[in-house]
Symmetry: C2
Subunit: 285 residues, 2 copies
């Protein structure tokens, strides 16, 4: 039986720390505030908005909702972003994507002030993760993986890590963050030959394959820590599943994140922590 | 006996391609031009300037020399950069670093227009390498490694690559570029445990350890391709040496870059190719 690396405990610990930091900000006259910029009424966005709002409220972070019609034009969108950039009462901006087709999404992302870019939409945030310096924030899901390792006392330093996936949202940034934590990281992807032989060498395996229940026992060995970033609805089983074949892999490895209840449940807590961090900068803490 | 991956042939091939591209730019009324911005008279800078100027002249790229006194202040420096950014006759800017202490080097780097940043000084260029999109150019030395592999018909796709070093100038960017070429990359660094066991797994090993003749036979096995980025003066031997113990390692591996005459001799050719690429953008080619 592997240790289950449940996300809820990690999120709770993060929230506790954030709540204390929010109090410190308030004492300096700064109320940490997240602006949620939503275009239209997509179900996914509304669902994430509810989750993020709940997390914010729980730690005392204020939420400012900005909603534009699905038909909004580029100039209005950019003007709205600029207003939020300039608004001294807003510390972080969460802009839901994908944006409707009439908008230039890349231009909208770049328009965000890096110092308020709590969800890593800007080039500056990518460079921040790559270079370990400059303004910006890591993608929340990538950082959620690191928070889980940290919470459960798994120090990547000197360990070998394998990451399955090289996307800009998770694979590449989590590779960089593991390297910054002094792991020796191998990033696998669709062109990797004999991927199981690579992942079996690792002490820590982060799985962001983007394909449900495709990473089976052949990828793992005893003693490994497995972080499963995947999440999708399994019609046949009638439940949410990760990229790892959990039932088969769990008995083999040392520790594994469940799906649901693993990485996904830490993501919004990380988002909130970024807002608080941005507010601390403003408060001079 | 390993195949010697000599840089001169790579640089020649690059120059030939560039010369043809310069002609195409000229036919569109655009003369590819590199501005070399030098502060003071450091020997290193003067030496690199001579090399780069020679390379530029050989392919028909014009050089505009801008020299400021070693005592220049920040405002003058930034105004000079801004003039070069705005100058439609300048396509690439090479700003020598380190800058004198009175200058804010990070601010000077960021002041460069990413579209003219042919030596990867800006955050945008770093993000360009990390994300594989957006304006900017890869660090010349990192790209020189890739040009050597390409020239000698060594396709990284599906291969395992190990990179020794995680600097922003070479280790991290070359890791990203190898990954973009579909290699499965492991980046090693000072905190890597049993590094030889990691590098021996690889088909391609890029060495940027930053310590002369420290990477011996235990790091290698038969069949490997070795790219040695290191260069330093060996007092005892009275000659330039790389990070790899060349005499011992060369008989073991399949192919290796010599030092001198390897990576270093390709770097300025890459710089020139960046200037030509920038000019092509302007010429709409």
């Amino acid at each position: 039986m592997a240790e289950l690396l449940k996300g809820a405990l990690v999120a709770e610990a993060l929230a506790e720390r954030c709540a204390a930091e929010v109090e410190a900000c308030k004492a300096k006259g700064v109320l940490p505030t997240l602006a949620i910029l939503r275009v239209g009424e997509r179900d996914d966005d509304l669902s994430y908005e509810r989750g993020a709002t709940k997390r914010c409220e729980a730690v005392g972070v204020a939420v400012k909702n900005v909603v534009l019609p699905a038909t909004v034009d580029q100039a209005t969108m950019l003007a709205t972003i600029e207003d939020l950039n300039k608004d001294a009462g807003v510390h972080g901006i969460l802009m839901f994507r994908p944006l409707p087709e009439q908008l230039d999404e890349a231009a909208c992302c770049e328009a965000l002030a890096p110092t308020k870019d709590v969800d890593a939409a800007t080039t500056a945030s990518l460079a921040h993760v790559f270079a370990g310096k400059g303004a910006g924030y890591a993608p929340c899901t990538a950082q959620a993986c690191m928070e889980i390792l940290n919470h459960y006392g798994i120090n990547p330093a000197g360990k070998r890590a394998a990451v399955i996936g090289r996307s800009l949202v998770i694979g590449k940034p989590v590779s960089m963050m593991l390297m910054a934590a002094n792991a020796t990281v191998t990033t696998c992807h669709t062109k990797t030959v004999d991927m199981p032989s690579v992942t079996r060498e690792a002490d820590i395996v982060v799985v962001a394959a983007g394909k449900m229940e495709t990473i089976g026992t052949e990828f793992f060995k005893a003693g490994q820590v497995v972080i499963d970033v995947g999440i999708g609805w399994n019609e046949e089983k009638g439940k949410l599943c990760g990229d790892v074949c959990f039932e088969e892999v769990e008995p083999i490895v040392e520790a594994i994140t469940p799906v649901p209840g693993g990485v996904g449940s830490v993501t919004t807590a990380v988002l909130v922590s970024h807002v608080v961090e941005a507010a601390q900068q403003v408060a001079g803490i």
